[in-house]
């Protein structure tokens, strides 16, 4: 089992290496086989391993490969750790990852830089697996930064357009802010507990810290900072909408299914620490609540199909944070899994739509695609229904329901959290079906029929099935998380169900029944302002521009001109003067140089001789 465990991250890594080293000599088919095959094999291995794991009574598996580095007390090994949580994450990453890879082999077939795409994607999968399987925080951080790097590389995949490069940089810099916080948190943790291995650390923390100790709170806050950056939560959510510059399968894999949920995983993995820090845990819930509301609100008036989904992703991760904050760890992971299914599906579907519309992103220029793209419509509808949490039918309903019930049962602020979650659910249902109605209903704007090969259809169909039925998959997590007693009031369930249906109905009323053109020119001023405020993601970018960028640029500009340069110029002038002086010695007569050396030795020896 240890060997199998190591095989899982090493297979995609090997794929990356093969593609990076020998990919240029492979034909496109070969690249596809290596790229998708390596992840496929990893998925098979993961499935086999999961079967063995559950068979063996779900006991954690530890696989040690060798030491990484040791310095004093600090030691980090290449060790993987597999428990119930890691199994689920591994299955999701390799499974969804493989489906997206398979989809990409056909979807990206016209790309010139096919090989680079798959190489990065494979590297990403390897890093993500390293993240979730890491036994110690240093290895986890390696994966954490690895996925960040791949995210950067893939957002900027079409690097000829400077805007994409800008988006990639933005994602990198913003998540880096969170990473610094995380790193500080890890350092602090090490200083306090002298340990990087996760399991001993989690076991030792309750003995070392009292609940609510200030240092513990600080650590939890710093870790939260890292999670917030990676998972695009308030206030670091600004990078994710821009990250849509990458190819759609990348958005599906990295910015929906896996990487952005790494923050959720991190907090779930370190949940004993948060249980020791009630303030920080409450903060998690509040961050989640604020994010889910803000992002849903912003999603309401987006026009770009992928940006809608991006804000939706931020919002859904907000739900997961909400669940984490109220201690419903299992519910958070459950929602993570279902979200991975339906959001990956939606992004892939969106990619299909965009491609079909010849790279048109504006939903108001689409319409009636139901007729020309029946297959895509079908699976997209399944995904959107799951996102909107259509009651009892979809996976999203079950997971979101768990979160809402857990929020309602929270000891503090339960009502507020539940109410916020329900309002968010309403908005979610509304914007997801606003998208569906706008894009797929109404008069067709094109008569071109869709054509899709099995490599596109099969993954989409599979994801569609999972989006609907995924809620029925049992996720045993009882060995990792403590039991959580959520409220099971039927009234609350019905309320949540009703809200989802109401949101869909509302969407039908505003966007299905009649078709808004998306034209805002004749709107009243307040509405236009509101719309623009919403569309800009509630103006976070502008605020950061004023608060951070402008002062930074001003300072930089102030320093660029004079003060420092003068000092530097002085150094240059002095050196030039000295150089002019010494250059005369450089006369090209080697024997003179030798003479200089000998004279120098003589001079040096004089004190020795006379003392």
């Amino acid at each position: 089992m240890e060997l199998l465990l190591w095989l899982i991250p090493l297979l995609p890594l090997a794929g990356f290496l093969v593609l990076a080293v020998a990919g240029a000599r492979l034909p496109k088919a070969g690249v596809a086989v290596v790229g998708a095959g390596s992840v496929g094999l990893a998925a098979l291995t993961a499935a086999l391993l999961a079967a063995l794991f559950y068979n063996a009574g779900s006991d954690p598996v530890i696989a040690r490969l060798g030491p990484w580095f040791r310095a004093g007390d600090l030691s980090a090994d290449f060790t993987l750790y597999l428990d119930q949580l890691a199994v689920i994450m591994t299955l999701v990453i390799t499974g969804v990852g493989f489906l997206i890879h398979a989809f990409s082999t056909e979807f990206m077939a016209d790309e010139a830089d096919y090989r680079r795409y798959f190489a990065y994607l494979n590297l990403f999968v390897a890093a993500m697996l390293m993240l979730v399987l890491a036994d110690n925080l240093v290895l986890l951080f390696l994966g954490w930064e690895g996925v960040g790097l791949c995210s950067y590389l893939l957002i900027g995949y079409w690097h000829r357009d400077p805007a994409n490069g800008y988006a990639a940089r933005k994602a990198f810099v913003v998540t880096r802010i969170g990473d610094v916080a995380l790193l500080l948190g890890l350092f602090l943790l090490f200083v306090e507990l002298g340990e990087f291995s996760i399991q001993p650390l989690l076991a030792g923390a309750p003995l070392y810290f009292e609940s609510g100790a200030a240092r513990m709170e600080l650590i939890a806050f710093l870790i939260l900072g890292g999670a917030v950056g990676k998972s695009a939560q308030l206030p670091l959510q600004v990078w994710l909408p821009d990250a849509m510059a990458g190819p759609s399968p990348v958005s599906a894999l990295i910015h929906a299914a896996t990487m952005v949920t790494a923050g959720v995983y991190l907090i779930a993995r370190l949940h004993p620490l948060f249980e020791l820090a009630p303030v920080a845990q409450m903060m998690v819930a509040l961050v989640g609540l604020a994010t889910l509301l803000v992002a849903a609100w912003a999603a309401l008036s987006q026009r770009d199909i992928k940006r809608i989904l991006a804000y939706s992703t931020i919002s859904q991760i907000g739900y997961m944070f909400l669940a984490l904050g109220v201690g419903a760890w299992g519910a958070a992971i459950f929602h993570l899994v279902t979200h991975a299914f339906f959001k990956a599906l939606l992004f892939l579907g969106a990619g299909r739509v965009i491609e079909h519309m010849h790279h048109e992103h504006d939903i108001f220029r689409m319409g009636g695609l139901r007729r020309v793209m029946p297959f895509t419509f079908g699976v997209f509808l399944a995904g959107a229904a799951s996102l909107a949490a259509v009651p009892w039918l979809t996976a999203g309903f079950y997971s979101k329901d768990q979160i809402l019930l857990a929020a309602a049962g929270a000891p503090e602020l339960g009502t507020l959290l539940f109410a916020g979650g329900v309002i968010g659910a309403l908005m979610t249902a509304f914007y997801s079906f606003r998208l569906v109605f706008t894009v797929f209903f109404g008069e067709p704007v094109t008569q071109e029929r869709e054509h899709a090969g099995w490599r596109i259809q099969a993954p989409l169909a599979l994801l569609g099935v999972l989006s609907i039925a995924g809620g029925l998959i049992p996720l045993p997590l009882e060995q990792v998380f403590p039991d959580h007693h959520a409220s099971h009031a039927l009234g609350l369930v019905l309320l949540a169900a009703g809200v989802a249906l109401a949101g869909i109905a509302l969407a039908w009323w505003t966007h299905g029944r009649r078709r808004p053109t998306g034209e805002t020119a004749n709107w009243p001023l307040w509405r236009r302002g509101l719309d623009r405020w919403q569309a800009s993601g509630l103006g976070f970018d502008a605020v950061y521009g004023v608060l951070v960028e402008t002062p930074f640029n001003t300072t930089a500009r102030a320093l660029r001109g004079e003060i420092v340069d003068r000092a530097v110029a002085l150094v240059i002038a002095v050196n030039q003067g000295l150089n002019a002086l010494t250059a005369r010695l450089q006369n090209g007569r080697i024997r003179h140089y030798a003479l200089g050396v000998v004279l120098g030795v003589l001079a040096l020896l004089i004190p020795v001789v006379w003392l």
Partner: protein, 167 residues
């Protein structure tokens, strides 16, 4: 041992002197080889047989042969010897000779006091040398390897360029 040591030392000094003042390149080289030989004998006497062997195999056997090889290719003739004669006028060599003499004087002055102890001639062989090289001096060995590689590449480059010029 003492007698051999001092007589060999004298041979080394004389041979070296002939190298420095020689007019004929190949003869000077052979004197240099003699000098190296003498030093090798000294090494052996001092109890460093491996160093002695290296001195002959590598210094005399390889490096100096390389010199001979190049001089053969240069094909120096009688004209070159006459040129050397002119270049070695007393005005040229007097200054450096005095300078070196001063340098030597300083050293001898320092060494004159003695008290440095004796060389007993106990043998430190290849085994100890190898162990030292590959334990505490491992990094230096790697750097020496790098240096040789650089020299190899450099010499190859210089040699290659010459051939391109011919074409």
């Amino acid at each position: 041992m003492t007698v051999v040591f001092y007589s060999t030392a004298v041979i080394a000094i004389l041979a070296t002197l002939l190298v420095v003042t020689g007019r004929h390149a190949v003869h000077a080289l052979l004197y240099l080889v003699v000098s190296l030989f003498a030093v090798a004998v000294l090494f052996y006497l001092m109890g460093a047989p491996f160093a002695a062997a290296l001195e002959i195999i590598i210094y005399a056997g390889a490096i100096m042969v390389l010199f001979v090889f190049v001089i053969m290719m240069l094909n120096l003739g009688r004209a070159d010897m006459e040129q050397e004669e002119r270049w070695l006028a007393p005005t040229t060599w007097l200054g450096p000779a005095v300078l070196s003499a001063v340098l030597l004087g300083q050293w001898l002055w320092v060494l004159r006091q003695g008290g440095g102890g004796d060389i007993t001639g106990e043998i430190v062989g290849a085994r100890e040398l190898g162990i030292a090289l590959f334990s505490q001096y491992l990094l230096a060995v790697e750097m020496a390897g790098l240096l040789l590689l650089a020299a190899l590449v450099g010499a190859f480059h210089l040699g290659r360029k010459r051939r391109e010029d011919d074409e």
